[in-house]
Symmetry: C2
Subunit: 202 residues, 2 copies
DNA sequence: CGATTTTTTGAATCATATCAACGTACGTGG
DNA sequence: CCACGTACGTTGATATGATTCAAAAAATCG
């Protein structure tokens, strides 16, 4: 029984236009992916696991978090459809991860196994560059969030998030947003009230 | 007039043992590096610049910071001798950087130009993997600092820094440490007094 | 030595955390 | 379809801790 080929218009467009793969390369690459579904609240990855897949989110929404020294969950980022997730550090060095990655909605994922990842690198040279670029951009985005975490007020962080991912607050419970912003849910609630009552001019 | 070959025992050891280069490859690589000195307070990079070098710190100490929306400097990290610095995002995509990188002491640097970087990738295949690993580790470390920034108290952040880079507070003015921790110098001063008076048992 | 930078201290203020309680929405099983 | 339980969001009162501003003390540099 032949498995149905993975399918994602957005990803395939990216492979063509960003990675500059030709039709054959796109076909090869897509054939390397396997589908996986995750129910809301299920985990893709938990602390101690070894991450065996690079994961493309075809549909749904996930959160990456750690459990800190006070046993408190701290959300590092959300990933929506048409983004990648996983722990590359764990994936590459095959060491246990410190992250939890959990579905916040029912998710449809496309998985690239380690074996197929290395096959892609070998058989589709453009893939490695495409992938390296993503790593680079992820790192850059982490540094941006780091500077934001250090210097911005909770209100600024919230407004920034609203600007960059307005969909998020419609889809994700607010206490997760609070955790992402590094504040308590009660503070986020009050902050939002402040903003609604005294809306920004700009 | 032949320029003197760059020399760093630590880097050469790493190239041999971590990157697994042979003598010839190490020689080639080292010959790609050029020396540069920086006086205390001088900048290696400023906002708007394009980063044209991957930089190895042979001697000295640098800080990377941004200037935030309130015109306040926010330190993202320190780099001591035998580490790398620069802005890879800017280096690779040749786009203006948002970072400032400044010498906190007189520094001796080894520079790898873009041209020589790509020559290294081509002529010494092991180099690319070596470099990619560094990017990966940097990203991981940024995520760790991000979770720390979000969840730890100033005291925990300070103690963590003390544990991981005890040299730092001997070498770097404390108001820079405060900026790195995301607090005001006055708060750091009081925090340190608290810790000295009530030292940890562990 | 004088000038500048860095660190400390004090007092008042402000913002967020905390704790407790309540209201609301949601979804599951009866 | 309703009822109940759970998860989520809000509100209030209070406590805690960092910021702010001002100033002095200490260290560093030329």
């Amino acid at each position: 029984m032949k498995p149905t080929r993975a399918f994602s218009p957005v990803l395939e467009k990216e492979l063509r236009e960003i990675a500059r793969m030709n039709d054959e390369e796109v076909e090869t690459y897509m054939s390397f992916l396997t589908k996986k579904s995750l129910r809301k609240k299920e985990h893709l990855l938990m602390e101690g696991d070894i991450c065996n897949y690079v994961t493309y989110i075809n549909k749904g929404c996930m959160r990456r978090y750690i459990i800190d020294d006070h046993s408190k969950e701290v959300i590092l980022n959300f990933s929506l459809e048409d983004y990648w997730t996983g722990d590359l550090e764990s994936f590459i060095f095959q060491k246990p991860t410190e992250f939890y990655i959990q579905a916040l909605e029912d998710c449809e994922l496309l998985l690239l196994s380690r074996e197929n990842f290395y096959r892609s690198c070998k058989e589709i040279p453009k893939f490695k560059n495409f992938h390296d670029d993503k790593v680079q951009r992820n790192h850059y985005s982490a540094l941006k969030r780091l500077s934001m975490a250090k210097s911005a007020t909770p209100e600024e962080k919230y407004l920034d998030l609203m600007k960059k991912q307005p969909q998020l607050c419609q889809r994700v419970p607010l206490h997760y947003i609070a955790s992402y912003l590094g504040i308590e849910p009660e503070s986020l609630s009050r902050l939002r009230k402040r903003i609604i009552i005294h809306p920004q001019i700009s």
